[in-house]
Amino acid sequence: MQNYTKKFNELDKTKSDIAGGKGASLGEMLNAGIPVPDGFVVLSSTFEDFLHKADLIQEIDAILETVDHKAVHSIDHASEKIQGLIKHATMPADIAQQIENDFLQLDSEFVAVRSSATAEDGADHAWAGQLDSFLNTTKETLLEKVQHCWASLFTPRAIFYRFEKGLNTTKISVAVVVQKMVNSEKSGIAFSVHPVTEDRNQIIIEAGLGLGEAIVSGSVTPDAYVVTKEPQKIIDINVSNQTRAMYRKAGGGNERQELGEKGETQVFTESEILELANIIIIIENHYGFPCDIEWAFEGGEFYIVQSRPITTLSKSSNEYPKENWLVVVSFKTELLTEAIIHRGYRESLPKLLPQIPKFRNRMIIDNDIY
C-alpha cells in the first residue's frame, strides 16, 4: 500500500517538503525528547494524489489562469470555485482508510486538524500560517476537516500570496497535521527564564487543575514553582487555593466544576515538578532561546501543547531602545480604541493613503502616573 501518512516519530526537520513546516517540526521535537501529543501527518503527496484521482488538476489550473490577482472579485470567485471542488469531491477509499486507521491508533476522542503548507523551494512562506486549523475534531468529521485543510490552500488570501510572491509557477502543496488533543487533568504554563527578574537560571512553572485556558488567561490563580537550572532544584513552592476548574465534558464542550478541598492541595509532587523542569530545559536547548511553554498533564504524562520564544519581555523592548521612540503624551485611552488605532495605522492607512510611508509601530504603556 502506498504511504499516504507518516507518524510524527517518522518525521524530522528535513521532511518539510512532504510534511510541511509544522509537521516536520513536531517530528523534530518528538525526536529531541520533547513530549508533544502524538499524531500523524497526511503527506502533501497525498493531496496531489487526491487531486489526481478526483480528476481536479486541469479544472483548478484552468480556474487559476483566469485570475487577475489585482482584482479582488476575480480572486474571490476563483477561490470559491476551487474550494468547492476540493471540499465536495469524494475522498478516494484507500486514502480515507489509512487516515481513519491512523486516527484509531491514536486512541483519542478528539484531535486537532491543521494544514501545513509546503513549497518546492523549501522556503518558509508567510502565508503558510494563514491556512486552516480545526480543534476538537472527532472521527465523524475527520475526513471532512482534512478536505477543508486541503481547500485552505485556495483561500482568497492564499491565492493572492501565491501570485504576489511569484509562486504561481512553483509547486505548492499542503500537508495536514492530525494531532491528539490532550484531555488535561492538570495544566499550566512555564517560562524557561524568570519573566520578572529575567534570571536565566530560573524556571517558573505555574500549575492548576483542569484545562489550561483559565490559567493562560489569568483568571485562575495557579500554584507557582521556581526551579533553578544549575543545580537543578526547587527553590520556591507557592501553593494557591483553586476553587474552580474547567474540564472537558464527554461528547464535547467544557464544564466548570467546584473543587472544594481538592483545590487546596499542592498540584504536583516535587519529583513531578523536576520532571517538567527537565522537559523545559530540553525545549530551551532545542530552540536556543528562552521560551514560554503551555503544557498539559494526563494519565501521569506531561505533554507540551505549545512553545514559543518569549517576545513580550526584554526581546521586544531591546529591539526598541527608548531613544528610538517619540513620546506622544496622552491620557489613558480605552483598550478598544487603542486596539483600533493600532489596526488603523497598520491596515487602513496603507489602503486609504498609500503614498504615506509606513506608520505602524506604536506602544501605549500605562506609565503616565503623576
Partner: protein, 429 residues
C-alpha cells in the same frame, strides 16, 4: 504614555517636507471624507437597535468598528504633518528676520475656520440673547427645545471618544444660567477678539519675505483647524454611536466602562454569542487597572497587564526632570490673572475646578473643556502651540501657558498664583 517609532515618524515628516501644502491637503481631504462616512455609519447602525437579534447587533458593531478603524487610520497623520509645518515655518520666520519665533508661531496658530468648541459657545450666547430679547421664562417649552437641540448638536463636545462624560442638558442649562448673570455683548467681544487675532496674524504674514513662506503661514492655519476638528468629528461619531454600545453592554450584563476594555474581536464575538464569560470579565477588570499595548515589527500585538505591565513600565519609565523654582512656559493666549491653583491629575478630578480657579494639568483633551470654561487661566506641563489646550484657549479667550514641563509638580493644590500669560510666567503669591 503613547510612543511612536521615531524612524517611521521622521520618514513621514520627510515625505511631507517634499511638497507640504499639496501633500497635506490630500490627507486633510481624506480625513474629512472618512469622518463624514464615519458619522453617517454611526447614524445608520444606531437606528432602531433594540429589536435586533444578537447576530444583527454584532454585524452593526462590526460595521461601526470598520469605519472607526478607517477614520482613525488617517487621523493620526496630522500630528506628523504639524511637525513638518512647524519646522519649515520656523525657518521661514527666521529668514524673514522675525524675532520671538515661539510667540509669533502662537499668534499665527488660529484655525482658519471656527472649530466646533467655539461654535458651541457662540450658539449658547445666541440662545442667551434670545432669552434676554424675548424675556423668555427659563422653564418655558421654547427654552427646553433650544437646549435639547443644542445638546443634540454638541452633546459629544466634552467627551473623548468613549471616555469622559456626555455634556448633559442639565449642564447646558447651568452654563446658560451663568451666561445670563453676565453682561450682554460677550458674543460681540469674542468676534472682535477673533478679528483682532486674525489681523495680527495678517500683519505677521505680510512681514514674511518669500511668497512660498506666506503661503505656508496661511496653510498653517488650515493645519491648526484640521488638527482640532478631526478629533471633534471622531468624538461626534462616537457620541452618536454610544447608545448602540450601551445596548451591547446591557445585553452582556456588563458596564459600558468594562465593554470598552474588550478587544474589537472579543467585543464582536461576545455580542454575537449574547454572553460573556466570567473569565473574560475578570480580564477586563485587570486591563482597566492599567495595560500596555504594543504593535511591533513582527506584525504582532502585545497586550500586557498585571506583572507583565510592570516590566514594560520599568523599561520605559519616565525620567523625572529636575524641578526648578521658576515656572515658565509658552504663551498660548495672553492675559494676566490671579486665582487658586487646582491641579487635575486625570479626568476624574475635573469636577474640582470651580469658577475662577487656575486649572493646572499635564495636558488637556476635549473632555476638559467644561472645566476650562470655568477656569480663569489654564496651565499645562506639556504640549505645543497647536496642542488642544492652546487652540481651545485661544478660541475661548482664556489666558493660557503651555509646556511648563513641571507646573503640576511644583505648584501646590490651593495655592494662590498670578498667571502672567503675557510673559509666560507663573508666580506664587
Amino acid at each position: 504614555m503613547i510612543y511612536i517609532d521615531l524612524t517611521e515618524t521622521s520618514r513621514i515628516q520627510d515625505y511631507f517636507s517634499g511638497d507640504i501644502i499639496k501633500r497635506a491637503a490630500k490627507v486633510y481631504k481624506k480625513i474629512e471624507e472618512q469622518s463624514e462616512k464615519f458619522i453617517k455609519t454611526a447614524k445608520t447602525v444606531v437606528a432602531n437597535s433594540e429589536k435586533l437579534s444578537d447576530k444583527e447587533l454584532s454585524d452593526r458593531v462590526k460595521s461601526f468598528l470598520i469605519a472607526y478603524q478607517n477614520t482613525i487610520g488617517v487621523i493620526g497623520v496630522p500630528t506628523i504633518i504639524d511637525l513638518a509645518v512647524e519646522e519649515k515655518l520656523k525657518d521661514v520666520l527666521q529668514q524673514s528676520d522675525i524675532s520671538n519665533i515661539e510667540s509669533t508661531l502662537s499668534s499665527l496658530a488660529i484655525p482658519y475656520k471656527q472649530i466646533e468648541t467655539s461654535k458651541e459657545k457662540y450658539d449658547l450666547l445666541t440662545i442667551a440673547d434670545k432669552v434676554r430679547d424675548k424675556s423668555l421664562d427659563f422653564e418655558s417649552e421654547k427654552i427646553v427645545k433650544l437646549i435639547r437641540k443644542h445638546h443634540k448638536n454638541y452633546g459629544w463636545l466634552h467627551s473623548t471618544l468613549f471616555l469622559g462624560n456626555i455634556y448633559t442638558e442639565g449642564e447646558i442649562k447651568t452654563e446658560l444660567q451663568k451666561i445670563l448673570t453676565q453682561l450682554r455683548g460677550q458674543k460681540e467681544r469674542l468676534e472682535q477678539a477673533r478679528k483682532e487675532h486674525f489681523g495680527e496674524a495678517k500683519e505677521i504674514i505680510e512681514k514674511i519675505t518669500s511668497s512660498d513662506g506666506k503661503a505656508l503661514a496661511k496653510f498653517f492655519q488650515k493645519s491648526v483647524y484640521y488638527r482640532t476638528a478631526r478629533l471633534e468629528w471622531m468624538n461626534n461619531a462616537c457620541f452618536i454611536m454610544r447608545p448602540l454600545l450601551e445596548d451591547c453592554a446591557k445585553r452582556l450584563n456588563i458596564k459600558f466602562d468594562e465593554l470598552i476594555y474588550l478587544l474589537p474581536t472579543e467585543l464582536i464575538s461576545a455580542v454575537e454569542n449574547g454572553e460573556i464569560s466570567t473569565e473574560q470579565v475578570s480580564l477586563v477588570t485587570k486591563r482597566q487597572k492599567g495595560y500596555a499595548y504594543i504593535s511591533d515589527n513582527n506584525q504582532q500585538y502585545i497586550l500586557a497587564t498585571g506583572s507583565d505591565l510592570d516590566i514594560w513600565k520599568s523599561k520605559y519609565s519616565e525620567e523625572h526632570e529636575s524641578l526648578s523654582e521658576i515656572i515658565r512656559g509658552i504663551t498660548a493666549f495672553r492675559g494676566t490673572v490671579r486665582g487658586k491653583v487646582v491641579i487635575v491629575k486625570d479626568r476624574s478630578e475635573l469636577h474640582l475646578v470651580e469658577n475662577g480657579d487656575v486649572l493646572v494639568t499635564r495636558l488637556t483633551t476635549p473632555d476638559f473643556v467644561m472645566a476650562m470654561k470655568k477656569a480663569v487661566a489654564v496651565v499645562t506641563d506639556l504640549g505645543g502651540i497647536t496642542s488642544h489646550a492652546a487652540v481651545t484657549c485661544r478660541e475661548l479667550k482664556i489666558p493660557c501657558i503651555i509646556g511648563t514641563k513641571n507646573a503640576t509638580k511644583i505648584l501646590k493644590q490651593g495655592a494662590i498664583v498670578e498667571v502672567d500669560a503675557n510673559q509666560g510666567i507663573i508666580k506664587i503669591i
